[in-house]
Amino acid sequence: MVERSPFANIFAHVILIIGVLIMAFPVWLAFVASTNAPDTISNGQMTGIPGGHMIENYYQTLFIGTTSTTRAPVGMMMANSLIMALLIAVGKICISLLSAFAVVYFRFKFRMLAFWLIFMTLMLPVEVRIYPTYKIVADLGLLDTYAGLTLPLIASATGTLLFRQFFMTVPDELLEASKIDGAGPFRFFKDTLVPLSMTSIAALFVIQFIYGWNQYLWPLLITSRDNMQTIVIGIRKMLVTQDALTEWHLAMATAILAMLPPVLVVVAMQKYFVKGLVETEK
């Protein structure tokens, strides 16, 4: 919009405020529910204002857990989710950097074949190859382990493509200057390529951390022991109860807790994230 009449200004803001309210209302309700006593919620007496049980509810959620469904403290689930998300994000960044480095800077036999094989995995997400992947992980004895949880999600092409595109924009002279300065391939990678890729790495970290944190289907299949539950699985289990009341105050506290780490990561890395996605300055 070029002209800025007061009416257009107010109109735009009204629309935006309505949007924010629609987005924020459920979150606010969840927060309110997590601060009320369980009977207040189940009796339908909950108001729009936080209740007085916040500290005890969050304490029980984090360190004790629900009494009937998950039998494990949410603090542990968060630790599991955090480990999984970090392993996936870091693992994927390492694998992608190395494979993009190989594809761009080395002339080996079947280089293009390797590239296309990596490229094709874009078309095969975990959901499509879930049976063979499960079989392999089970045969390797990796059920209920962090390795089984993360390895199949680390292998994919998005990061490799991102770094490949970036490496192709790095001037050849930098490689040649490194050669003359006596830096071998690994030195060049470590001293020049990785520092130059920092913003792309940050962007990929944010995307992969949230991807890992939000995983539902794969952890559901691969983990069965209580102490390997992730927080997303935990929420789901809390809501479905057979013969007891759903402990809504705990479930909502868990939902709020589950939201925090991705929000923190995005807020902390937002600057680099945006820079990494729009990076054109060379």
Partner: protein, 354 residues
């Protein structure tokens, strides 16, 4: 300190393109050799072969008496200055200069001493040393690139058109700086440029290349005064040499296309009667006068210190450079002294000799 010797060096690319054809020359220890030629003549390829950035497909390269063909770039004991400087953008100026030495596992104290020494030579202060390359001006980047080369104390400097990214004024300044620095350090240097003025002013030894071959090797003035071929005659010198085609009608007499006659020194050039030749005249060695051959004036360019008069002689373009602008412009005739003529065989393009 070392000499650089090329012996029948050639380069054929995988696609079959023959970029460099059996080139041999020897750059003596401590001298400044300039490779000059038009774009695509193979001069940069040749320099990159000496550096080890391109493979050499035939012949032998020796640096400091040691065969270098199979050596990695860093084992060749050379330093390379790139056209776009290729400074590491993520490192400070100091780290840019220290990087090569660190890779050589040089002791920290010595690295620091050498970087400080180079910085002092190049007039880079501490504040500049701590900056990133992107915060530097073009001239400063150029100096950092030089610094990265000199801290290594290499056997040879290799320059790949290092001044072509600078503006005209800075280029002249850096040209002098580089030459002074090289005189001071006495390091053997190979310098590639397409700018014949840079080539003339900087070189101890000039190698003129064309189409993957050497056209002429010599001191700059020798090349200027005795170009061995039409190509060299036209390439070296600015404004470039005028060429007039003609036929030898008599010993020491050349008849131009429009029938006018021009005298030359028959003792200096052996010609056969009826031979087709091309006569070359440097613009500053021709003079407008009341007497002489016909000259059709078309355009005058004032340079301040002198003037360029463009016109035609017998259908060919001809330019005269007058040093001082004091005299009023003479009309219509051109005088060329017999000793100012360079004669080339029209068929082969080679200089005629006595």
């Amino acid at each position: 300190m070392a000499s650089v010797t090329l012996n029948q060096v050639g380069k054929v690319y995988a696609g079959g393109f023959n970029a460099v054809k059996a080139i041999s020359f020897d750059v003596p220890d401590g001298s400044f050799c300039v490779l000059v030629g038009p774009s695509g003549c193979g001069k940069s390829t040749l320099l990159r072969m000496v550096a080890g950035l391109e493979t050499t497909t035939s012949g032998e390269i020796r640096i400091g008496g040691r065969r270098a063909n199979e050596l990695e770039p860093m084992e060749r004991d050379i330093a390379f200055v790139f056209q776009n400087y290729a400074l590491y953008p993520q490192m400070s100026v100091y780290d840019n200069m220290a990087y090569g030495l660190r890779n050589l596992k040089t002791p920290k104290a010595e690295i620091d001493a050498r970087v400080r020494e180079a910085a002092q030579i190049l007039d880079l202060n501490d504040e500049i040393l701590s900056r990133k390359p992107r915060a530097l001006s073009g001239g400063q980047r150029q100096r950092v690139a030089m610094g990265r080369a000199i801290v290594r104390k290499p056997a040879a400097f290799l320059f790949d058109e290092p001044l072509s990214n600078l503006d005209a004024k800075l280029r002249v300044h850096m040209r002098v700086e580089i030459r002074k620095l090289q005189r001071r350090l006495q390091t053997t240097s190979l310098y590639v440029t397409h700018d014949q003025l840079e080539a003339m002013t900087m070189a101890d030894m000039l190698v003129v290349m064309n189409d993957g071959r050497i056209e002429q090797i010599g001191a700059p003035l020798e090349v200027y005064n005795h170009p061995k071929s039409l190509f060299v005659a036209g390439f070296i010198g600015s404004p470039s040499m005028n060429f007039l085609e003609g036929i030898v009608v008599d010993s020491g007499v050349l008849q131009l296309a429009d029938g006018q006659k021009l005298g030359f020194d028959a003792a200096k050039f052996s010609t056969a009667s009826g031979q087709k030749i091309v006569a070359g005249v440097r613009p500053e060695q021709a003079r407008l006068a009341e007497e002489g051959i016909d000259f059709n004036r078309e355009l005058i360019e004032d340079l301040g210190s002198g003037r360029l008069i463009h016109g035609k002689v017998g259908g060919s373009d001809f330019t005269v450079l007058e040093g001082a602008v004091t005299a009023p412009l003479c009309q219509g005739k051109l005088q060329v002294a017999a000793e100012a003529l360079h004669l080339f065989d029209a068929a082969s393009g080679q200089r005629l000799s006595a």
